[in-house]
Symmetry: C2
Subunit: 250 residues, 2 copies
Amino acid sequence: MIDISAHGLSPGELLARRLATASAPYRARPEELGVFGPTTHLGAGGEIIPAGRGPGAPKLLVSGVAGEVRALGDGRRQILRLRLPGDLLYACDYEAVVALGRAHVADARPFLQALNDPGAPAGLRRAWLALGQADQDMLRDQLVRLGRMTASERVAHFLLETHHRLGHLGLTDGDTFHLPATQEVLSDLIGLSVVHLNRTLQALRRSELISLRNGRVEVLQREALIDLCDWRPVGPPSPAATSEAEVAGA
Amino acid sequence: MIDISAHGLSPGELLARRLATASAPYRARPEELGVFGPTTHLGAGGEIIPAGRGPGAPKLLVSGVAGEVRALGDGRRQILRLRLPGDLLYACDYEAVVALGRAHVADARPFLQALNDPGAPAGLRRAWLALGQADQDMLRDQLVRLGRMTASERVAHFLLETHHRLGHLGLTDGDTFHLPATQEVLSDLIGLSVVHLNRTLQALRRSELISLRNGRVEVLQREALIDLCDWRPVGPPSPAATSEAEVAGA
DNA sequence: CGCTCATTTGATTGTTATCAAAAGAAGTGG
DNA sequence: CCACTTCTTTTGATAACAATCAAATGAGCG
């Protein structure tokens, strides 16, 4: 299985893949995307961008998973959204951006400079805007998950979304993907208690809709999962999505 | 009480007020903000911008309240966020923007043209960006409300936020404001059933933290409400906020 | 007045959180 | 390689919270 905390892709290659699978796709040559410096390594809980210190340097998440974490005084916390490799991490006013496991980040300023260069291709800008739009749309999906979905719907919806996102990066292996996050992290992401998330996962496993252990997730019955939570992809379909759907539906 | 469905402000005046109370305030002369055409009137449920028809003309919400509504097939729906006068309404991919009561909207293209004019003052652009940032921040607050707050916390947090937003527009009357939305709408906004919202409101009334009837909301014990849900204002403090806080705390 | 829509109430069920503890995995240092 | 610690997952029992169903009351409107 592809380990998303330690895949072998360079920052430029990652970004190129994202841009190529945006809803306004753009095939970038590596040198268009700026020259990235060395990547920094962080352990679980490492603060990538601290909260509320104004706009620092945006970072590119190269490997691993991260999240924007809001703490609520008493123990509660909400992870606003899951950030995956290829995502750009900006400073937030009230949330720290935190590595949810081992992660690598790179300074994203070279890329942003390349993007804002007057000579940058229009297609590149369009693709970037399309990715930003997809990000917004996923945030809306997250609102609906938290506001109106039951526990099993939330889990199904979240897993389908994550599979889809990783598929765009070529980081899935058919219906299987790597999700290096503890159940505690996932529970804070989708607004459930750890215990209840655990039981919900077990129920989905018993129904043979998914399989999950050790951060390895397999979507066993795609169509059934989609029916369960009424998921629909944000942005363009995943590269291998149609064939997968046919197999799952057969 | 000021009726936000029928206040007397012109589009330009509304926008000027918002810009003047952004975290990067800008005092606009009316003619800088473009020439608005006539406003359109809508009744409750009127579709201001239909879902998923690509980017149409953005509208300025002049009076009344609106919301981005996601329907879930079975009866469930989630209103992603509440839009108030002075908000710009854009097309969404999966949500319709709907008037939640009587509302007036105006074509916002003249304003956007004025904003994008190369000769537009830098301060105007900065203020506009600051408003956009505040919008993002409120969306994040909404995520936390839905994901991690109890019913009474959600209600308290939402009411404080709304009071704050209307305060910036000069549409509050001290601790009182007008919120022309049914409990059903509010319940879909903060992710509760109507019945439970109703009971939660009653509890808050019994505790004399708020008073609410006929769309007239009064914040009776501001400090206590803030303590209850750990609310903090997005963007700059409301024009009258400090003095109000002193009174409430006394 | 009679209609419709919104709010409120009561009773009940279902879902999810919480508490406490056991079992299992994974890393650490000897 | 093992003993130890620590973190994560799992289980059970219980309580709190919120949804649902059904119906009554109240408010606004033609």
